[in-house]
Structures are given as C-alpha cells and as structure tokens.
C-alpha cells in the first residue's frame, strides 16, 4: 500500500472502531427520545456508572472481562429502571405539560447528582485497568489492541441483538408502537408504564455497556460521561431525532469524521471539524440526514 491508502485505511479502521461505540450510545439516547420524548442529558452518567461497575467487579471481585461487562449492563439496567419509576413516572402522572422542557431539566439534575455522587463515593481519581484481553492484532502493519477489537465486536453484536429484539419480538414491537402512536399502542392493550420503564432501563443498559467495554481505554472517572453524551447528541442531531436505525450509521459516521479530522488536522481539531461538517449537513437537511416523515425533529 502507498502512503495515502495506508492513511485512509488507518482512518477507516480507527473511525469504525470508535464509531461503533458512539452508535451504541446513540441508539440508547435515540430510543428514549423516540419512545418517551425525553432528551436525556444524563445518558453519559449511565456510561460512567457502567465503567465503575465493571471496574469494581473486575478489579475487586475478580470477575472475568465478559462477566464484568455483563454485570455492568445488568447494573445500569436496574438503575435505569429505578430512575424511571421514581423520577419520570411520577412526573408523567402529574402533568405532561412542557414535558420535553421538564424532563430536560430533570435529566440535567440527575446528571449533576450522579457526577457529584460518584465524586463523593469514589473520589476525583481515574480508576482504570490496563487490559481486559492482553495482546494486539496486526492488520496491514497497524497494531490494534485486542480490547478495541473486542469492544467493537461486543458493540455490534449488542446492536444486532437489540435490532432483532425491536423488530421480531412482541415486546420490541410494542416499544416501537409506543414511539409511533402512544394512544394507538394503549388501544391495542400495551401498558405504557411497563414500556416506558423497560425503554429507559434498556437505554441505560446500552450506555452502561459502552462504558464497561471502554474501561481499559478510558478509565472510570466521575465526569467521564460528558464527552460521550455530546458525541451521541451530535449523532442524533445529524441523523434525525428518534430514528433508532439511523443512529447506528450516524455513530459510525461521526466516528469516521472525528478520526479523519484528528489525523488531518491534529488533536484538538476533531470536534471543531466534525461539528463544522455536521452543521453544514444540517443547513441542507435541517431535519437530519435520514429524517423520516412523521418522525420528530430537533426543532419540534
């Protein structure tokens, strides 16, 4: 390979590996917005909690990598369910007026409480591990750590299972039904309370899983959720709000854009360049790249 195609290959490889995890985060964020109309600004904190979960299970309780990651998923699922039942459910019962604004503020509050709670409990230090799976793989003279490859594979398998769940099971179909027509769903007998709790918990599970997978690359830290939160919002705004399938492509795309900007312009530029490109795309497609008719946009 010549220099240019080498570099291109490197960009694509790194971009896809990074993008796979953005996709995982973005799918969860999109799910909660599409089904519950909640712009979740605490999504990053469930990513953070996932990282802590797997850190403690891995280093203190000596679980294997897979069990640590799975336990983080189960843990964030349960925490998500509790958050929905104790915070969003009572709010929904009281009033659906200004719902988006109120839940936005509520998630912001949850985010601050969780960040500072983590700081209080576990301190302001980085808690990481060196590796889940020691070793590297060489692909065309690039060395990639096993953890990055495994992380990408787990993310893709999770997304595939999640896609099958949404499309092929009764429960998954009910979740999509609620996102398309809430009244229609309750008319056919769907219990909205169950679906809302399940949806929020699943979304937290996806975020927690991402945090756990990346533990050896980005260590657990109380404020680690901010960056991935913004990245997932870039994805959602880019592809159109509440469009779950498109969030997968969007995640990969943002990963590629960032890697491209990082490698061409140096670190510090990745957010500037990728955001500039996203803004330009939105000028031409204000409802997002894959906006569907009848699907909510940012402006609504």
């Amino acid at each position: 390979m010549d220099m240019d195609s080498m570099q291109l290959f490197n960009i694509v490889l790194t971009g896809v590996l990074r993008g796979g995890l953005y996709a995982l985060m973005a799918v969860g964020l999109s799910l909660v917005f599409g089904v519950m109309n909640i712009p979740n600004f605490a999504h990053g904190e469930f990513y953070m909690l996932g990282a802590y979960f797997s850190y403690f299970t891995y280093t203190y309780f000596h679980f294997g990598p897979i069990s640590s990651i799975l336990l983080a998923a189960v843990g964030t699922f349960i925490l998500g369910a509790i958050a929905e039942k104790t915070l969003f459910y009572p709010l929904r019962k009281r009033s659906k007026k200004n719902w988006i604004m109120n839940t936005f503020l509520l998630t912001l509050g949850i985010s601050i409480v969780l960040q500072n709670g983590a700081k209080m409990l576990w301190g302001n230090t980085y808690r990481g591990i060196t590796q889940y799976w020691p070793g590297k793989v060489s692909i065309a003279s690039f060395n990639i750590s096993n953890d990055r490859i495994a992380g990408f594979c787990i993310a893709m398998v999770t997304i595939a299972i999640f896609w099958l769940f949404l499309n092929k099971t009764t429960m998954g179909r009910a979740i999509r039904a609620v996102s398309q027509d809430e009244t229609g769903a309750s008319i056919v007998g769907v219990n909205l309370n169950v679906i809302h709790t399940l949806t929020f918990a699943l979304s937290c599970l996806l975020a927690g899983l991402a945090g756990a997978i990346l533990l050896s690359i980005s260590p657990a830290y109380p404020f680690m959720g901010v960056q991935p939160l913004y990245k997932s919002w870039f994805v959602l705004i880019l592809v159109g709000m509440g469009n779950i399938g498109a969030s997968i492509y969007g995640g990969l795309l943002v990963g590629l854009l960032e890697t491209f900007a990082y490698m061409k312009f140096g670190s510090g530029w990745q957010d500037v360049v990728s955001l500039a490109i996203i803004i330009m795309i939105l000028i031409f497609k204000p409802r997002g790249l894959f906006a569907k008719k009848g699907v909510k946009s940012v402006s609504e």
Binding site: T170, R173, A174, R176, A177, Q180, D181, T183, G184, A185, S186, I187, V188, G189, V190, N191, L192, K292, K293, G294, V295
Partner: protein, 235 residues
Amino acid sequence: MLEISGIDTSYGNLQVLWDVSLNIGEGEIVAVLGPNGSGKTTMLKSIMNLVSVKRGKIMFLGQDITGKPIHELTRLGLAFVPEERHLFPAMTVMENLLLGAYTIRNKKIIKETFNRVFELFPRLAERKKQYAGTMSGGERQMLAIARGIMSNPKMLILDEPSMGLAPQNVLAVFETIKKLSAEKVTVLIVEQNVNTTLTVADRAYVMEQGRIVMEGSSSQLQGDDHIRKMYMGIA
C-alpha cells in the same frame, strides 16, 4: 353488556357530556347519531378512559370499568376504532395487525383471526408488507377496523368508520359490521351517515349538545319527523 349510567364529562372547565346514559345488550348493533360537536366522540372516549368522567358509572360485562386504564379494557374484550385511527405509520399492515392481537398469547388463535380478517378485507391481504403511513384513507380505515378485530373482541366500538370513504368502501364497512354481528360481536357505532346506519343498526340513540335526546329502534327513528328533517334531509 355495556351500561353507561348518568355520566358527565368535561375538558377542563368545559362540560361536554351531561347525564348521558346508554345500554347495549349482547349481540346488538347500537348506533349513536348526532350533529358534529355534540359529544359522540367524547362519550366513546369516556368509555375507553381516554378522557376521565366527572360523575356517573360505566359497567362492562357486570364489572365497573369507570376509570380503568385503557390497556386493561382491551383485555376485557373491548376494541376501540377511533376517529383518528391511531395506526402505527412506520409499520407494515402485518405488524399493525399483529399489534392488534397484542393481548392474545395463543398463536393458533392469532392465526385464525388473521384468516378471518383477510377474508373480511382481501385488500389488506394483498398489502401485508405495505407501510400503514403510505396507505390511502380508505385502506387505513379498513386497517384500523381490522386491527380492532385482531383482539377478538366481545364488543367493537367504532367512531365514524365511514368518514372520508368512497361509496363502495362505505358499503364494505357496513357489510363488515353485519358480518361481525353475525359472529356474535356486539357493535357500538357512531356515524354521520344516518340512512345507512339505521339500516344495519338494531337501535339508536340521538345525542345533541351533550345530552341523549332520543332513543329507539331503527325503524322507530326512521319514521320520526325530527330525525327525517334533521338527519336524513327529508322534509
């Protein structure tokens, strides 16, 4: 089977229903007629708890269902086909129908109901893979009724099923209602299409300004002066 006694319903401070009572026996086809804005839809929504009633009681199969969550009503055997349809636009005909059978766990019953529905609406059978959001108004109405039937209801509640339909589709809708009735499904129907409705219904109620002002058998109402003048355009 369904017994509404003296309900009042309001939207905020605006009271829409005043002391409404209505009775439907098993296997009957009962119509509710009345001008636009008289409260017919509000009455159906009161039954389904889509709006909450202020006063009065609603019984279904001997059980008090006032204020019961709507998803539980479906399990009791009530199916509601709303005026606004509330289909799932980004899902196929097949998926919409499957969701109609959401409360049924027995796969064999679901399959039988599919056959029954496709027999009633051959057009839907041809379009299993089409997205509901891309269908014509008439097809969407068929799908909404079909989705209601998929739950194997004891009682079907229809809000203006013929609204916006071409004449041959209107006919198909009324044929379907007759067939369902022959299969022992009780039907409560709200309609503007008074002539045709009175030919299929056993009995009818007339609602004006949120109150029931008249009730009787279809033949009684067909002969009534007020009805003939106001609703059938016969002087």
